[in-house]
Amino acid sequence: MGEALGLAVGLVLSGDADLLEIVLLSLRVSLTATAIACLVGLPVGALVAIGRFRGRNAVLILMNALMGLPPVVVGLLVYLHLSRSGPLGFLGLLYTPTAMIIAQAILITPIVAALSRQVLEDLHIEYAEQFRSLCLTRWQTVQALLWDARYSLLTVGLAGFGRAVAEVGAVIIVGGNIDHLTRVMTTAIALETSKGDLALALALGIILLVIALGVNAAVQAVRMTAARQAYV
């Protein structure tokens, strides 16, 4: 264990090319999936937050339930759609980073939508009367809420990114864990552990933890700065 840990630290410090490739692909896939999930999930969360319509409670239950989507099920569904015989097979996306992005985006969009809905609904309670007095349109209201909740929504995005970067079940099904093509940190850790190469697995684990801590620290710093200006 100690030897493996030493090797792992050595790999990290030496800037191993393979390791770097895996880390960069992981970040590219998860950040892109998070961006897509935010583009879709935030407006959906905002519209549900301010909307009063028949079946709203059912929508809320569905949104919350979808936060717990099993990754392997999502992976399987995306696989079935992207496989050669599937409806989107002609796109040739299976076993590519794009397929992994799609799977991760599907997984975390409900998380972003459900969490942002709660944040935005709380803010809307405070703003609703003022906005009605100003005769804002629905779209103006959504825009204003999204902007004014921007620092709280950073945490929502962070939750989505955390889920994406730590996810293994879906990306291994649709990405295939192909070396130099679709191998990301989590799938590499699973593979190297099964092979007994604990050094590389630990090195990737350390980097994963450092990324998680670094992103959290950065978001917390931004939020604290915003809180000092009463923008949270």
Binding site: E126, Y127, E129, Q130, R132, S133, L134, C135, L136, Q140, A144, W147, D148, A149, Q229, A230, Y231, V232
Partner: protein, 242 residues
């Protein structure tokens, strides 16, 4: 310098309120309010806590429906003319942005001339705070920003719900000055207040609400020396009115 504010001659008046009833959770808050307001000037709505002043203001602004009765601004229902009015709340709701961005937001949302922002801030004495976070303003400054935001919409009627409650005398005077200036430009003012001194300073007429009804609607020159209703007389003499 850009002109921040324009003169008005509102077509929204007269305001007619007939048999207005509002029930909230089975409690009757407004119980057959009848009221006629016309022309220009500053009408103060006074009365004890729970008399229904703030809810009447919200009904007039079209923010909520009444249980029964009728409100007409000229020929229009309140919800049809909300955009031609502005309401300043007792507790200003400021956006989580800078002072200037709060004004920009309203100007942009309402399709107004964006270059008026600096003049509006100057008008309410907040030019030096333009870049500061709005929610860090003092109570008086926050209320002046809320007023500037309301004036940015070029309202024909300005509704104010106890905008000076809990403010220091200097802030009260600053807000009264802005309101009086708007009134002198022809903006119709309807102002809810508990402050008798304030009503004396700026009211043209006073509507006194008591237990959800209009106890009296009298010219200010008459109301303060010779109120007609017992409720108003007791209120002005400092007796507890419930």
């Amino acid at each position: 310098m850009k002109t921040a504010l324009s003169a008005h001659a509102t077509a929204l008046l007269p305001l007619t309120v007939r048999d207005l009833v509002l029930r909230v959770d089975k409690a009757t808050v407004l119980d057959g309010v009848n009221l006629d307001l016309g022309g220009r000037g500053c009408t103060m709505i006074m009365g004890a806590n729970g008399a229904g002043k703030s809810l009447l203001l919200k009904l007039l602004h079209g923010l909520m429906p009444s249980t029964s009765g009728r409100i007409s601004w000229g020929e229009h229902a309140p919800s049809e003319v909300t955009a031609r009015q502005a309401l300043v709340f007792q507790k200003p709701v400021l956006l989580r942005r800078s002072v200037a961005a709060n004004i920009d937001f309203v100007l942009k949302a309402r399709g107004k001339d964006m270059t008026r922002r600096d003049a509006l801030l100057e008008h309410v004495g907040l030019s030096h705070k333009a870049g500061q976070p709005a929610r860090l303003l003092s109570g008086g400054e926050a209320q002046r920003l809320a007023l500037a935001r309301a004036l940015a919409t070029d309202p024909e009627v300005l509704l104010l719900d106890e905008p000076t409650a809990s403010l220091d005398p200097a802030s009260v005077l600053a807000i009264e000055s802005i309101v009086s200036e708007a009134c002198s430009r022809g903006v119709r003012i309807i102002f809810v207040t508990h402050d008798i001194g304030q009503a004396r300073r700026i009211a043209d007429d006073v509507v006194f609400l008591h237990r959800g009804r209009v106890a009296e609607h009298t010219a200010a020159a008459t109301f303060f020396p010779e109120p007609h209703s017992d409720a108003a007389r007791n209120y002005l003499s400092g007796k507890i009115v419930v």
